[in-house]
Amino acid sequence: MVLSREEQIELTRIAIKAGQILLQHGAESRLVEQTTQRIGIALGASSIELSVSSDAIVLTSLFGEDCVTTTRRCYDRGINMQMVCEVQRICLMLEKKLLDISQVKERLNRLKPYKYNRYLVIFMIGLSCSSFSHFFGGDWQVYLTTFFASSIAMFFRQELAARHHNPFVIFAISAFSATSIASLGVFFEFGEKPQIAMAASVLLLVPGFPFINAVSDVLKGYINTGIARWVFATLLTISVSFGIVISMLLTGVSGWIH
């Protein structure tokens, strides 16, 4: 296989586009590196070297005596596993020679993040947090309180996210609203242990995906991205706790530490 200079530049752009999509939608570092390298090599490069950091990718493609290097900033677009699946599928089809270089480029550019119906998500998250309240030992009144508190908090989270607020602000305000609504249950003594609702209704704000990604990045040798993700998830946890504490101070109802 012989590559001209233009073809190598084109290949580099396609490979980094794939890596950029993966990193922006919450894939772990090893998946970003492996998939990008596989796409580049399938398109004809002799090797692909890349440096993944938490918010940018630097990629060099090597072919014979030639190196082509390029950089992309990767702004966080929110976790979207459907996009990760699509890029992986394009990579596999390319390796099986079902796609050529122009088709890969066209498919990568055509990818649009799919989103579930927002009211369905609100309903499911309400049920999810209510299930957590069951695990904590709550009865059906607590179940109901948690459902309303967490659904309304999820509504606020979506509304604020649609207006592109800072994630820390979004999480603090959502936690504040969840705790304030759940404390109504304590106020009116709704159920056996209404404090459980206060603990369960904020669990929709646990940054589980960033925490798991952080630990698996560190385990697989990507210490930089791992630390960055850990810090981000920890700060999100702190801002959620901040929202909870402000709400407990204002209402005077304590659900956590007595």
């Binding site: 596993m81 499911m124 069951h134 669990l203 385990l219 697989k220 702190i238």
Partner: protein, 154 residues
């Protein structure tokens, strides 16, 4: 028989958060059923281990490594990256309550001054968060650490 009923109830309540959070992560629609099965499987396995006397960290590790291997099978069958199934499935086991208690305890310590009781709450909850979280991620990563090492899974 009593244990079996509790086990079924636990599995029933565990699939709901797995699917709910899978939808927040925009897992493709066809894969939601696997997140539901995985969530019910992992959480009820942990429940069984904990009722038979295994501490929560060990039970979490065993449950999440079982989930890691199940995810490996599914991922090779459907040609889809593993985190798509596995992360949503372990969401019901994430120590969110412990994490928030730790940070709220720290804020309490700051506002009302040092007290050994609050310090005990912070230390216990903080360590539990750290160990459960590490056990979860390590368990999920086990197949790629032990078997696949440098190679891609799909």
């Amino acid at each position: 028989m009593e244990l079996f009923t509790l086990f079924i109830i636990d599995a029933w309540f565990a699939w709901i958060p797995a699917v709910g959070f899978a939808m927040v992560f925009n897992v493709p629609r066809k894969m939601l059923i696997y997140c539901a099965i995985g969530g019910a499987f992992a959480h009820s396995l942990r429940f069984l281990l904990m009722t038979s006397g295994v501490p929560i960290e060990g039970a979490t590790f065993l449950a999440s490594s079982a989930m890691g291997f199940l995810g490996l099978y599914w991922s090779r069958k459907h040609l889809i990256p593993r985190p798509v199934f596995t992360v949503a499935s372990v969401i019901p086991m994430i120590p969110g309550g412990f994490a928030f208690t730790t940070v709220i305890g720290l804020m309490e310590l700051n506002s009302s001054g040092y007290s050994p009781e609050i310090m005990a709450i912070i230390t216990e909850n903080g360590l539990r968060t750290l160990f459960i979280l590490s056990a979860l991620s390590f368990g999920l990563a086990l197949p790629s650490i032990l078997i696949y090492r440098g190679r891609p899974i799909v």
